[in-house]
Amino acid sequence: MHVTASLIIDTPLPTLERLADDALLLQWSEDTTNTAPIRALCAALREAALPWLRDLVPAYDSVGVFFDPRQSTASEIGAYLQDTLRRLPAGATERDAARLIEIPVCYGGEHGPDLESAATELGLTAADLARRHADGDYEVALIGFAPGFPYLRGLDPTLALPRLATPRTRVPAGSVAIGGQQTGIYPRASPGGWRLIGSTPLRLFDVERAPPSRLLPGDRVRFVAIDAAGFADRNEHDLS
């Protein structure tokens, strides 16, 4: 006899809020650090190939659910979501299934113009800050701000840095940065207020690729330090 485990996850159920005529927000308690239910819920909903489902937006402690109001109603979908949450499989608490993506980073110098000042502010040497940043085991908590911009959870709390009082008008594509308790990567040149400690030569978002984003919500990420020559060898950014 084949037995499938189906246990209830020991995590409080989220509250359900309206976001728009065609969107709901599932909000877990703010101090939750267990993202497994968020990942499992998104996987279960995608697996079910629901005709009303347009978009899922997983974040730190919430999931936005966008639907086609011609296919279903907010109350029906709300009930379906609560029911799905109650039936999430026990395996949902494991993170072993997450992909591990390595991101090469050239720290400091022209590739990380804020590394020195940030290190001084933290009472570290630049080399220590770079090493401790690269030692982290990160998870893509959400992708937002811009297409392909990963907000990474797992920054060593002693490396937290305030954002710039006046954001830069242009942060180069590939910049690896710290903003508050988070670290992230700018996929495309844009304005930004995070502290730039390094750069990756990888292109994080490309509409010609499938999927267009190199990182996906839930991925595990490790940074691998490279030197300027290594950066030049692997540079995928548009140099024009």
Partner: protein
Amino acid sequence: MSLKVISSGPLSTVQDLGRSGWRHLGVGLAGALDADAARIANRLVGNAADAAVIECTLQAPTLELLQPCRLAICGAPLQGRYRGADDSLLTIDSGRRFDLLPGRIELGRLRGAARAWIAVSGGIDVAAVLGSRSTDLRAGFGGLLGRALAADDVLPLGAARTDFTRSRAAPWSIRVDAPPRTAVLRYVPSAQPAAVALARREWQIDARSNRQGLRLSGDALPSPPANGISAAVAPGTIQLPPDGQPIVLLADAQTVGGYPRLGDVIGADRNRLAQLLPGQRVRFEAVSVEQARELATQRAAAMAALEHAIAQYGGN
């Protein structure tokens, strides 16, 4: 099959009904800010509702038609001019279908509202990116090279039947109402304490508003201490930044935001958001979720009736 931009106006972009399915990767909706207007303009020229159109802002473009095409404009009222290669003249107005032989249309400024949508038979046939032809200005893809239109751009058009032999205006049109002086925006309030206070004061549209959001100015609302944890937001979401001046998100908004949410402008009033001008006054009126749903149903029915009427008159 193509048309050429002679002058673009301050912000003209290629848009369809927007992009969905990619919000988890940070890709927002984009698309016509008033999807209903884009849909009706398309129906007037015999296109599918989701064909790509030109969205223009404050000032409409001047376009050179390089072959015969059907054209219609919805949204803000305007008074434009068509001059054919054979020197025939027509006055171009909103809400009407035109059969036009090659020539130039000069559409001028929009009257009393911020935006209009120009549909051309066959649709603007730029390549679809991630399932949509809409221009995502912040991300720099979609539409024509991911950017706003500029003079000398040539826009490809899809195939369409244009077997008419002279330029003419259809003898019927859709009524285009003048926008009210003070717009009322209906919204479903969130549980935030400031959500109800939003409706108690009058707001003015700030000049820094754009396709990402309408910035409102007025007596500052008490801003609750934000936890700043980013979560999904949607077009229509009303955010309250620390300065107490609300922002109503539009189609080009980011997919996530960390400011407290005061609620959302209901779908039935999304078209009003698209038309507000800098300096214009707006009020908010709270409605229940049930009322929002009822209003959405009514609006969908009115739109379906309008599309049906256009199909009935289509041959004339």
